[in-house]
């Protein structure tokens, strides 16, 4: 009592009689009082405000005002009567329900006399939760619940009205008529109760902001105190006596403990979400439920939900990632596509124009890093091989096309028109009576057509009828099925085929009619009018020889897949070694519904080449020199290698019509294609085929090409394959000149050969044969037999003598020998010099142009590394010997095309040396850092020289014919402008260096994006 401010006298409160103070708080005192009718009240009177305290007093006043109506609404909130100010003092007061008396546990009795009241007031002691706690050490769990539940409800009510208590503790919970009630805002304190900082901090939640959760915390601590009897400071420690509890009691206690611990959690977020949740849990306890079990269930449910949520999140994250990735990839592809498109537009338009959009799409993928070898190969082929451009030149069906030798073309259609084309443009148009075959007779355009019941040959421009052939009834009356017509190139023969007959007329005398029992679907004469081929519906092709037409050859494909639809003749340029001088042979290409393209050798009636398309072939044409055959039909027009059947190029058409009639321009370079089309106007397309990118593919040989030679005038190139075929091409035009079958030899790549000075003759040493071929004549000029030998080199020396350097290896003894022959006309050759059996391995010999010296690989048992021995040709004396670290079959020794430089190889190319002849001055090769697998030189000592090398990576790239593997035997032309490289596909890649250089920068730009590089020094 001494600690309270001492009230001298009971203050005068209107309507109340005050007896004595029964409690004090921070703001005022609580007096025991009666009202006029003798009811007991507790009257709170605030202290007079000290300096600056007026504001807090009025704040307090407002809070009480706000609380007053709420107090009435809940049985467990103390009721108060609205506050009122005391005059002049700055104090205010309010009255509230009086707590029960602690001793009697009942409300103070109403007394009638003031004396009685005074007597009662003297012993009154308010009954609070604190006083209860002091009386009994602790509450049972059930009692705690009974006490806590109404308090939680009251707190809920308070919070729902936005009021926070802030000072819940046992002292502030009073009993009114046996009911615990929350007294207001810490203003009521039991008299004598301590109000120290230590006393209240135990109920203070740790968080700095005292909001609703702080009230829950305080209520939790109160419950702790009730349940354990321990001071609040010790929360949440349990008393030692708990160990004595039985199982049932322990269980009850633990349930309550769970509620208390949650309410007392230091983290406000982990406490009960509100007083209502606390109330629910207490209610559950009252109904003998288990809070812990319910929480476990809820937690499990929440976990389940969380798991689902997480799964959903993860799934959507993955989807988003994938979307983002695909977007990014698409963007990257688009970028690359744009770049490639740029290159295409600038540089490669002619190539791409022959490619389908599908190819371009695949190229994009390629640009993105996924190497599609087929596309890559074709991409390089676009540089190395043909340029092809397609454009329509004429709106006409073009069922028949004939070229004049001067380049003009005659196009006959089914709509009574014959057009004359000069290069690209139609120059004149003539009326015609119907569809038919066109041809030139000198400068006179002719047309073979059906007129009434007759087949007529008329002049297209003048419409004058030259000849008239009566058609038999079976052909003439079947108008729904036009007869198939054919006319020999010189108009000496005409043929017509219908439902059952094939009729042939010699034009010179109309009477000479031959009726052949053949149901032909297509007809063709060859160029020299010696053959007539008739394709039939059963897939067989009959070839009649003219003029006897007897005993036709039947060309029967292995698989008779369908009717033959198109035929094309070509002169066979292959000269068989055993049939030199025989009749020229003809090749016939057939195509049809079986999508098979077959090239027949008419001499043997065997298939020379077979290629499989994927759809019907409706038209076929050979290039003028017979290197290529081009098929039209359901597929994209395709260019094939006529010798090997390798697919060279797809041509892209502007319209999807199936061309049936085709004609190559007589000088090559382009072809015209036409044919009838259903429902749409037909066009005649022009397909330009040129090789102007710097690299030409020379075709016509079968087998892997091994060796190449240039003629001294650099105008011709020869190549030898291991199928014993020796081909010759014109370097400037790329035309195939001749193909010889050579005598058989052990290995094509040990053969030796050389052109003579004029380039008209070519000498080849292979096996035991040395043959001189006439390139222009297609015959054999001379032939020698030599003794057994393996490696051969041939050259003419300065005096015009033909020299043959020939080596032989004794494998058993690891020794070898070489012999040098001079070959003279019709004289059996004898060697002029011989090495005898030595340590020298003549597997690599070199007899350079001019033949001043020759080279031999040297080897000894002491030194396994090889060296290069240089001999003088005239005296066969050893001039010098260059060591090398090459062992076994390494890089071959090479000599520049002019013979002035010798390449001494090293196992690492960067350490290879170049030696100048005749002074043998040495210098390093400029190939450092490049592991070239092959090297060729042209006048290579001076800076202007040309080297050609390739890195091994080239071998991984399917460049046409696999250049890398055969670079070892490439050759420079003597003028240094061309390099010929034999390839494994049989084609010879002819690289025009000046032209390539201009294209190479663009080429390499593309190649770099394909992660490889091609270099020419």
């Amino acid at each position: 009592m001494a600690e309270f401010p001492q009230p001298t006298l009971p203050p005068g409160i209107p309507g109340y009689h005050l007896y004595r103070p029964i409690g004090a708080g921070a703001y005022g005192e609580v007096w025991l009082a009666t009202d006029d009718v003798g009811r007991w009240w507790a009257v709170k009177i605030t202290f007079p405000p000290r300096g600056g305290g007026e504001q807090s007093a009025s704040r307090e006043f407002r809070a009480i005002e706000r609380y007053a109506p709420i107090g009435d609404q809940h049985a467990n909130l103390v009721r108060i009567i609205a506050p009122a100010w005391l005059p002049h003092t700055g104090q205010f007061y309010y009255s509230m329900e009086l707590a029960d008396d602690a001793t009697t546990k009942a409300p103070l009795p109403r007394c009638s006399t003031p004396e009685e009241r005074a007597a009662v007031a003297a012993y009154y002691h308010p009954r609070t939760l604190r006083s209860e706690l002091q009386r009994r050490s602790r509450f049972s769990p059930a009692e705690c619940v009974e006490c806590g539940l109404p308090l939680a409800m009251a707190l809920g009510q308070l919070h729902s009205r936005g009021v926070i208590h802030r000072d819940i503790k046992p002292e502030n919970i009073i009993y009114v008529a046996g009911q615990p009630k929350l007294a207001d805002l810490g203003l009521v304190a039991e008299a004598g109760g301590q109000h120290s900082i230590a006393g209240t901090t135990a109920y203070l939640a740790p968080e700095p902001k005292r909001r609703e959760p702080a009230d829950i915390f305080a209520l939790g601590v109160v419950l702790y105190e009730l349940a354990t009897g321990q001071p609040a400071e010790r929360c949440p420690q349990v008393p030692a006596g708990i160990a004595q509890l039985g199982n049932m009691e322990l269980s009850e206690w633990n349930e309550l403990n769970a509620v208390i611990l949650k309410a007392c959690h230091p983290n406000p977020g982990l406490r009960h979400a509100g007083a209502d949740e606390l109330r629910e849990e207490l209610e559950l306890l009252r109904n003998q439920g288990s809070v812990r079990q319910r929480r476990a269930q809820e937690s499990f449910r929440r976990q389940l939900l969380d798991q689902r949520k997480n799964l959903l999140l993860a799934a959507s994250a993955i989807i988003l990632l994938v979307l983002a990735w695909s977007q990014w990839r698409q963007a990257r592809l688009n970028e690359r596509y744009a770049k490639l498109r740029e290159i295409e537009l600038e540089q490669f338009k002619p190539h791409y124009s022959t490619w389908s959009t599908n190819d371009l799409a695949r190229l994009e993928v390629l640009g993105g890093g996924i190497a599609d070898r087929a596309v890559l190969g074709r991409f390089v082929a676009a540089l190395a091989d043909w340029d092809a451009e397609t454009r329509p030149v004429l709106t006409n069906e073009g069922v028949s096309i004939a070229f004049h030798p001067d380049g003009r073309a005659l196009v006959g259609g089914i709509t009574n028109r014959v057009c004359l084309l000069a290069t690209n443009k139609p120059v004149s148009e003539f009326a015609a009576s119907g569809p038919g075959v066109v041809a030139w007779d000198g400068d006179q355009p002719l047309q073979l057509t059906v007129l009434g019941n007759d087949l007529v040959l008329r002049e297209a421009d003048t419409t004058r009828i030259r000849r008239r052939f009566a058609l038999p009834e079976s052909l003439a009356t079947n108008w729904y099925q036009s007869p198939v017509l054919a006319m020999a190139a010189d108009q000496s023969w005409v043929a017509a085929a219908g439902a059952k007959h094939l009729l042939v007329w010699r034009v010179g005398d109309n009477q000479s009619l031959r009726e052949l029992p053949t149901q032909a679907t297509c007809l063709a004469f060859n160029e020299d009018n010696s053959r007539l081929a008739a394709g039939m519906a059963d897939g067989v092709t009959r070839v009649y020889s003219i003029p006897d037409f007897n005993a036709p050859s039947n060309l029967v494909p292995a698989t008779r897949a369908g009717a033959v639809e198109c035929l094309a003749f070509c002169r066979d340029r292959l000269v068989r070694f055993d049939k030199i001088g025989a009749q020229p042979n003809w090749l016939l290409a057939t195509g049809g519904r079986g999508a098979e393209l077959i090239v027949w050798d008419l001499a043997s009636c065997l298939q020379r080449m077979r290629a499989q398309g994927s759809w019907v072939i409706t038209g076929l044409v050979f290039s003028p020199d017979g290197q290529l055959v081009i098929s039209f039909g359901g597929d994209e027009p395709t260019v094939w290698d006529a010798a090997t059947g390798a697919q060279v190029l797809h041509l892209r058409k502007n319209d999807p019509g199936k061309h049936t009639s085709l004609a190559f321009a007589p000088k090559g370079g382009y072809l015209l294609a036409g044919g009838p089309r259903a429902n749409r106007p037909a066009v005649v397309n022009r397909f330009d085929l040129t090789q102007e990118r710097g690299i030409r593919s020379l075709r016509g040989l079968v087998g892997k090409a091994r060796l190449v030679w240039f003629s001294p005038d650099s105008l011709r190139v020869a190549a030898l394959t291991d199928h014993c075929q020796l081909g010759f091409w014109d370097v400037r035009t790329g035309r195939l000149l001749q193909v010889f079958e050579t005598p058989p030899g052990p290995f094509a790549d040990t053969a030796g050969g050389c052109f003579d000075a004029s380039g008209e003759h070519f000498n080849l040493a292979i096996g035991t044969n040395v043959v001189q071929f006439g390139v222009d004549t297609g015959g054999i000029n001379r032939r020698w037999r030599v003794e057994k030998g393996e490696a051969n080199q041939m050259a003419y020396d300065a005096a015009g003598r033909l020299l043959l350097l020939r080596g032989e290896e004794d494998i058993d003894h690891g020794m070898g020998t070489w012999r040098l022959y001079e070959l003279k006309d019709d004289v059996q050759p004898k060697w002029t010099h011989e090495a005898g059996w030595t340590n020298q391995l003549p597997v690599a010999l070199a007899l350079p142009y001019g033949a001043k010296y020759f080279l031999v690989w040297d080897w000894s048992e002491d030194n396994p590394n090889r060296s290069v021995a240089v001999y003088d040709t005239a005296t066969a004396k050893l001039l010098t010997n260059f060591p090398s670290d090459v062992r076994g079959w390494g890089l071959p020794v090479k000599v520049s095309s002019d013979g002035a430089t010798i390449f001494i190889p090293s196992s690492h190319l960067g350490e290879s040396r170049l030696v100048h002849f005749p002074d043998f001055a040495e210098r390093r090769t400029p190939m450092d850092g490049l592991q070239a697998i092959g090297v060729e030189m042209h006048q290579s000592v001076h800076p202007g020289g040309i080297y050609l090398g390739a890195s091994p990576a080239e071998r991984d790239i399917p460049i046409p014919g696999n250049w890398g593997a055969v670079l070892t035997s490439a050759a420079f032309s003597l003028d240094g402008t061309n390099v010929a490289m034999p390839t494994l596909s049989g084609a010879v890649e002819l690289i025009n260096l000046p032209s390539l250089r201009t294209n190479l920068s663009n080429f390499n730009e593309v190649r770099r994006s394909l992660r490889t590089e091609f270099r020419v020094w």
């Binding site: 949440p236 420690q237 160990a243 633990n254 403990n257 611990l261």
Partner: protein, 230 residues
């Protein structure tokens, strides 16, 4: 070592509030330098509160031990806090000469002496407690300004108590409860698990987590926190 002594003290403080004689540790506990530094600015209420919480109880107990009544002790404690607040702005922390602990003890001694001087023997008719005699005797002795053994022990106890209070106000109460029952009161894990009807694993987790917290808080309270170690 520190952890064991901490554990021991904690056990004592939690279970028994009576003082037991114990050898004071030689270790000079560095008072948290940051707190001291902040106290220089008396306006910093939070620092004051922390400081008050940390040392109020220690000072009160010591004063009572020195023979003051509870009310007098409260008064003198107030004076001491005001004095500290006033002196701190000029206080240079020189651990080599004098730790905060010693410094605080000296102030306390001065205040006690001053209290007795002011009041005088038997002033206001109030009898001095029986043990006041030796206190007054020692007050004349300059050596009495060196912290005595009970002060050392009280100071140590106070820090442990503060540690525990801090942990109590941070830890998951469930874990704290388990920790106290098992580690502090010395029950087995199995027994704890039985009483609280919880898996033994829970108890282990509680031991681990609360143990960590205690170690952390203890280290924090004892750290020089920027001041050189005392």
């Amino acid at each position: 070592m520190c952890q064991i002594s901490l554990q021991h003290t904690m056990e004592r403080l939690m279970n028994d509030d009576t003082q037991t004689d114990r050898e004071p540790t030689d270790e000079l506990l560095p008072t948290r330098a940051s707190l001291l530094a902040r106290l220089r600015d008396v306006q910093d209420d939070a620092s004051w509160h922390e400081f008050f919480e940390l040392y109020h109880r220690l000072i009160l107990r010591t004063l009572v031990r020195k023979g003051l009544s509870a009310a007098d002790a409260e008064d003198v404690a107030q004076e001491i806090f005001v004095g500290v607040a006033r002196r701190l702005p000029t206080f240079e922390y020189r651990p080599a000469q004098c730790s905060f602990k010693t410094w605080l003890f000296r102030i306390l001694q001065y205040r006690v002496a001053e209290f007795y001087r002011r009041r005088g023997r038997g002033a206001r008719g109030q009898e001095l407690p029986g043990d006041a005699e030796p206190i007054l005797a020692t007050l004349a002795d300059p050596d009495s300004l060196e912290p005595d053994a009970p002060w050392e022990r009280e100071f140590e106890d106070n820090l442990v108590r503060a540690t525990l209070e801090r942990v109590r106000r941070q830890a998951n109460p469930r874990y704290f409860q388990l920790y106290c029952y098992c580690a502090v009161e010395g029950h087995s894990v199995a027994e704890t698990a039985r009483i609280f009807q919880t898996p033994a694993n829970d108890v282990s987790v509680a031991l681990q987590r609360v143990g960590k917290l205690i170690a952390k808080e203890s280290a924090r309270l004892r750290s020089a926190d920027g001041w050189p170690g005392g």
